[in-house]
Structures are given as structure tokens and as C-alpha cells.
């Protein structure tokens, strides 16, 4: 058969799907937890308006650097693209951030 011959150059890379799913889930858990903690810190600090969102993206940037360090700066060994570890999940945690931000601000500064 033809497929048993040489390796075709347009093959997609073969990855371990279970391990990739586990890694992506781990990244998602980390980002969600840090969104919640960032919201609590922003609320206690007293951030309002645009300053809170700047704080959120700052935390997400530090989290991306931490996740890169966790993968020992070799992204190709653990993920299928750079955006998996640096960009994916950043906007998903924004709602959790705003929820805990307003909640902590109300507890500390209003009630």
C-alpha cells in the first residue's frame, strides 16, 4: 500500500491528545484561580474603573510568564502552539475577576 512507504511531508504532527488536554486544563485552572485572587486584591486595594482592568492584564501577563517557567520555557514539548500558554484563557477569566473585584470592594469599602 502507498501509505506504508515514505513519510508524507504534509502530515500533521502526532501529539499525545490526553497529555495535551491535561496541560490545557491545568493552564485553565491556574488562570481561573489567579483571576479570582486578582479580583480580591484589586477590591481590597480600592481600584476603580480602568485601573482595575490594567491590574487584571498585568496579573495575566505575570501568570503567562509563570506558566512559561512551569513548562521550563520549552513550549513545543508540552503544547501545540505558543498561544495555548500565553494568550488562551486570558479573557475567559475576566468575568470572574470583575465578580470578585466588585464583591471585595463592597465588603471592604462600602458595607
Amino acid at each position: 500500500m502507498a501509505a506504508a512507504g515514505g513519510v508524507s511531508t504534509d502530515d500533521v504532527p502526532i501529539l499525545q491528545a490526553e497529555n495535551l488536554t491535561s496541560n490545557v486544563k491545568s493552564v485553565y485552572y491556574s488562570r481561573t484561580f489567579l483571576s479570582i485572587i486578582g479580583g480580591v486584591v484589586a477590591g481590597i486595594w480600592g481600584f476603580t474603573g480602568l485601573m482595575g482592568f490594567v491590574f487584571y492584564f498585568l496579573i495575566m501577563m505575570v501568570a503567562s510568564i509563570g506558566l512559561l517557567a512551569k513548562s521550563k520555557f520549552s513550549v513545543q514539548a508540552y503544547f501545540d502552539s505558543w498561544t495555548r500558554i500565553s494568550i488562551e484563557g486570558v479573557f475567559g477569566g475576566l468575568m470572574s475577576f470583575v465578580l470578585f473585584w466588585t464583591f471585595a470592594y463592597d465588603i471592604v469599602h462600602i458595607f
Binding site: M1, A3, A4, V7, S8, D11, I14, L15, Q16, N19, L20, S22, N23, K25, S26, V27, Y29, S30, F33, L34, I37, G38, V40, V41, I44, W45, G46, I59, V62, A63, G66, L67, A69, K70, S71, Q76, A77, Y78, F79, D80, A104, I107, V108, H109
Partner: protein, 106 residues
């Protein structure tokens, strides 16, 4: 795994204490009728310390990253299944590119 949880709980406790200190500070401001602009310096230090501890816990507690490359050491087949009657060698896996590194080394 346990040390990550302890660090996370400690960070959460530090944040709770910072929140309580900020509440007390707001009460003092209400008495002296001043405007709130920023928490006091020690509370800000407490917030940053709690944030750093929770960030470390948030990165350490989830499962370690596993390699997705089929040739890496983590994904090597190190033993055969116990029941050899169910091993099938004639299947469509022959269409995948074969690599002798994946074979079992004696």
C-alpha cells in the same frame, strides 16, 4: 502538592488580614472625615505578599505539564500488556509513520 496548598491557604489568610486592616483603616478615615485614596503602606505590602503566595500556589497546585511528544521518555512503552491474546499487529496503525525509537528496547 501539600506545600502548594499550604502556601495558598497562607496567602488567602494574609489577604483576609489585609482586608480586615483596610476595613479598620476606613473606619478611622470615617472618624477623621478624610478621603480614601490608597491603603496604608503595610497593607499594600501585605496585599502584594498575599498575591505572590497565591500566584505561586496557583501555578504549583495544578497538575504538572506532561510531554505531548510521542518520542519523549515520558511516553515510552515500558511493558507489554499481561494478556498477550489481545495484542493485534495487523491494524491501520501501519499507515502512521513508523519509528524504531518507539519500539520496546530489551
Amino acid at each position: 502538592m501539600g506545600i502548594g496548598y499550604v502556601v495558598g491557604v497562607l496567602g488567602g489568610a494574609i489577604l483576609a488580614h489585609a482586608a480586615y486592616a483596610t476595613i479598620q483603616y476606613r473606619a478611622v478615615l470615617k472618624i477623621t472625615e478624610e478621603e480614601f485614596s490608597r491603603p496604608p503602606m503595610d497593607v499594600m505590602m501585605e496585599l502584594l505578599l498575599g498575591l505572590v503566595l497565591c500566584m505561586w500556589a496557583g501555578l504549583a497546585v495544578p497538575t504538572k505539564f506532561l510531554s505531548v511528544l510521542p518520542h519523549s521518555d515520558e511516553n515510552r512503552i515500558v511493558s507489554l500488556p499481561a494478556n498477550l491474546d489481545f495484542m493485534i499487529f495487523n491494524h491501520r496503525g501501519r499507515a502512521l509513520p513508523s519509528d524504531s525509537d518507539l519500539k520496546l528496547h530489551t
